[in-house]
């Protein structure tokens, strides 16, 4: 297996999706010749032609609406929103239209659309670009919200997203694009959209997390191991709908839980995970659930992003608090 960056895995998945199914189309701002501003579609227009990989005019609502319209002709659009901070421009297409489509058509129409977009902070983008808006999506019935943490998952989950007949919001962590490498299996494979993954086994506590924070949590777990605290880490992978079985098994095993997210405390997915655990597994808990999240402010200006974002130390501290509770 070859080691690839997160973004290489995403490009590879799109390449395979185009090759595998002639109904797959890729479009968005600058995705053509330029290969997208992050080069996620690098070389794909050249390989598959302007009919299948093309730039759009600069309008996110147009991109979303066009994706919906193309499904009438059985196309399977992968639409790119250049930064997820711009999602408000296309909220009606996403939350008003495609999320409700299956329901409103009483199952007579499908919405096999993938909305790909980079999210998250820590790369010093200009104002309004960085954000963690997965909570908005996850609170919208009718969407699958997928947030891969590794190159291997990015590829397999993206291919599953393209195969899915439901609209999938596929959120790519900006910081991970080029900062991590991982083994990526060759060829076409899919990774299930409804399964979380235990990425580190442990007995003393469970960190439940997703996206960029998976790596921060794993690093925290290594540090904690040095102090004899044996931490399990669950990567949700798909943040809506949640895989409650995997969460439950880990909670029952360790009885001590920390949820960690990059989003603000009032946003993100943490609150949803905590409420599910409280409803279903409260009798297995040996301590109150701990939470690590960014502060409840508007997303900060670039210079302070890294200080604002939750850090390894925050997780370490919270895990200790939960482990030492009795």
């Amino acid at each position: 297996m070859a080691k690839k960056t997160y973004i290489q895995a995403i490009t590879e998945a799109q390449d395979l999706a185009l090759a595998n199914d002639e109904n797959v189309l890729i479009f968005g701002e600058d995705v053509g010749k330029n290969g997208g501003v992050f080069r996620a579609t690098d070389g794909l227009q050249e390989k598959y032609g302007e009919d299948r990989v093309f730039n759009t005019p600069l309008a996110e609502s147009g991109i979303g609406g066009m994706a919906i319209g193309l499904t009438t002709q059985n196309y399977r659009p992968i639409m790119e929103i250049q930064f997820f901070g711009f999602v408000y421009e296309v909220m009606d297409s996403i939350a008003g239209q495609m999320a409700r489509g299956r329901f409103r058509f009483h199952g007579t129409r499908k919405f096999p659309i993938v909305v790909r977009s980079p999210y998250g902070g820590g790369t010093k983008t200009p104002e309004m670009h960085a954000d963690s808006l997965e909570g908005l999506m996850a609170q919208t019935p009718g969407l699958r919200v997928v947030m891969p943490a590794t190159p291997e998952d990015a590829k397999g989950l993206l291919l599953s997203a393209v195969e899915s007949d439901d609209p999938v919001i596929f959120l790519e962590n900006l910081r991970l694009y080029r900062s991590i490498r991982g083994e990526v299996p060759e060829g076409y494979y899919t990774t299930p959209l409804d399964k979380a993954k235990v990425v580190r086994e442990g007995n003393d506590a469970t960190i439940i997390t997703y996206g960029g924070m998976v790596h921060t949590s794993l690093a925290a777990a290594e540090e904690l191991a040095k102090e004899g605290i044996d931490v399990e880490v669950v990567d949700l992978r798909t943040v809506s709908p949640l895989d409650l079985d995997t969460i439950g098994q880990s909670v029952e095993k360790t009885g001590r839980v920390v949820v960690a997210q990059e989003a603000q405390r009032q946003a993100g997915i943490g609150a949803m995970v905590m409420s599910e655990i409280s409803e279903r597994f409260i009798m297995s808990l040996k301590a109150p659930i701990g939470r690590v999240a960014a502060p409840d402010s508007v997303y900060p200006f670039a210079l302070a992003e890294n200080e604002w974002l939750p850090k390894e130390d925050d997780i370490i501290e919270k895990v200790k608090e939960v482990v030492n509770f009795d």
């Binding site: 701002e29 010749k33 730039n55 609502s61 421009e89 405390r265 409840d296 402010s297 200006f301």
Partner: protein
């Protein structure tokens, strides 16, 4: 049987396209070689010698700020920077026609106009780096550079309506790019301002590219100005490399709006001679060097310099002395920006709502306790 004349015209689609194509001649006063091509238009612009020199100084200021900002960005001493080289007439000469009391709604590339309106250079640098002190706008009738493309148009419409309701003798003016004309907000802003006959002037700086996407992929309208017509606005195409034409168009548009006739739309024909931004854009992935070189010959400083020199209003020495002055202002700006205290996380939380919620207040207290 023959169709009536009206019906013939209605059903002649080619004719309609032809009309669109020929409806927008370009306003030009000063050509590429620095020669006046329309003496009457020059008179109508009514720029005194002092004003001509002041305008040139502002444009040289803008070019110098561009050069320094590009370098600072390369050194990692700025954050986001969108080059302005080539767009000095489009930006500065239009802005020069407005009054301090007018409200400016700029895009992220329109930093020079904001600085001309009194936004201190160090704040522009702080904005670029991503520091909240850059976004403090106390004494400037302007909005922070808009990141969400198109939003400045609807907001300008609201400001213009407000100015009208207050009976103030001022306008709101907004800048977007060629790409920006594809956004719904672009049309909504012009349409709202038109519906209320609100005093607004809307600019689309057609620099041929939206990042990598050429103007031809944005729309099949023959001219972006045709989009202004759709909202019922007088819509002009102006040589955006010609400072005199830009000033004249902006001045007359402003007057039209102030006189209660409603908004005006101006498409400026210009070019982005640099990369989209300094964050990794490589123009040669999507355009040729030949194309850039051809536009470079048309850039506004060359022709304006020639013209002013022919009238003995400008010289290399004057320009170099002025560049020295500008550079020292920029040095001061860098120094001041460097000296600003770090942002506090507690401030971020505190500034999110006027009265923080309980959970937020706990976080404020915690961060304050840690000095953050």
């Amino acid at each position: 049987m023959a169709l009536t004349d009206d019906n013939k015209q209605v059903l002649d689609f080619n004719l309609q396209l032809e009309r669109q194509d020929t409806s927008f001649p370009m306003l030009q006063v000063l050509n590429n070689d620095g020669e006046i091509v329309d003496e009457d238009a020059l008179k109508r612009a009514d720029l005194s010698d002092d004003q001509l020199v002041e305008l040139m100084k502002q444009m040289v200021f803008s070019r110098t700020l561009h050069e320094r900002s590009s370098k600072l960005a390369k050194q990692g001493r700025l954050g986001f920077y969108a080059p302005t080289i080539g767009e000095e007439a489009s930006q500065i000469a239009s802005n020069y026609a407005f009054d301090k009391g007018d409200w400016l709604f700029p895009g992220y590339r329109d930093i020079p106009q904001l600085v001309m309106k009194g936004w201190p250079i160090y704040k522009a640098f702080l904005w670029s780096r991503g520091h909240y002190e850059g976004n403090e706008f106390e004494d400037v009738n302007g909005w922070m550079p808009q990141i969400i493309i198109g939003a400045q148009y609807v907001e300008a419409a609201g400001a213009a309506l407000g100015l009208k309701k207050r009976g103030l003798p001022n306008v709101a003016y907004a800048y977007t790019g060629d790409g920006g004309t594809s956004q719904g907000d672009f049309y909504e802003g012009m349409n709202f301002a038109g519906a209320y006959k609100a005093p607004a002037v809307f600019f689309s700086q057609n620099n041929e590219y939206a990042i990598s996407t050429p103007r031809t992929l944005q729309t099949c309208a023959s001219h972006l100005a045709a989009k202004g017509w759709a909202a019922g606005l007088p819509s002009l195409v102006v040589d955006g490399m010609d400072p005199i034409a830009m000033y004249l168009a902006a001045k007359e548009a402003r007057q039209w709006a102030i006189d209660g006739n409603g908004p005006v739309f101006i498409e400026t024909i210009t070019n982005r001679l640099g990369p989209h931004s300094m964050s990794g854009d490589d123009p040669l992935r999507y355009r040729t060097q030949d194309e850039i070189d051809a536009w470079t010959k048309k850039e506004p400083l060359i022709r304006f310099r020639k013209y002013l020199e022919s009238r003995d209003l400008w010289s290399e020495d004057i320009e170099n002395d002025w560049i020295d002055v500008v550079n020292s202002q920029i040095d001061d700006g860098v120094k001041e920006a460097d000296g600003i205290a770090k942002q506090k996380i507690s401030d971020f939380i505190e500034q999110t709502l006027e009265v923080p919620g309980q959970a937020a207040q706990e976080q404020i207290n915690k961060f304050r306790g840690e000095g953050k």
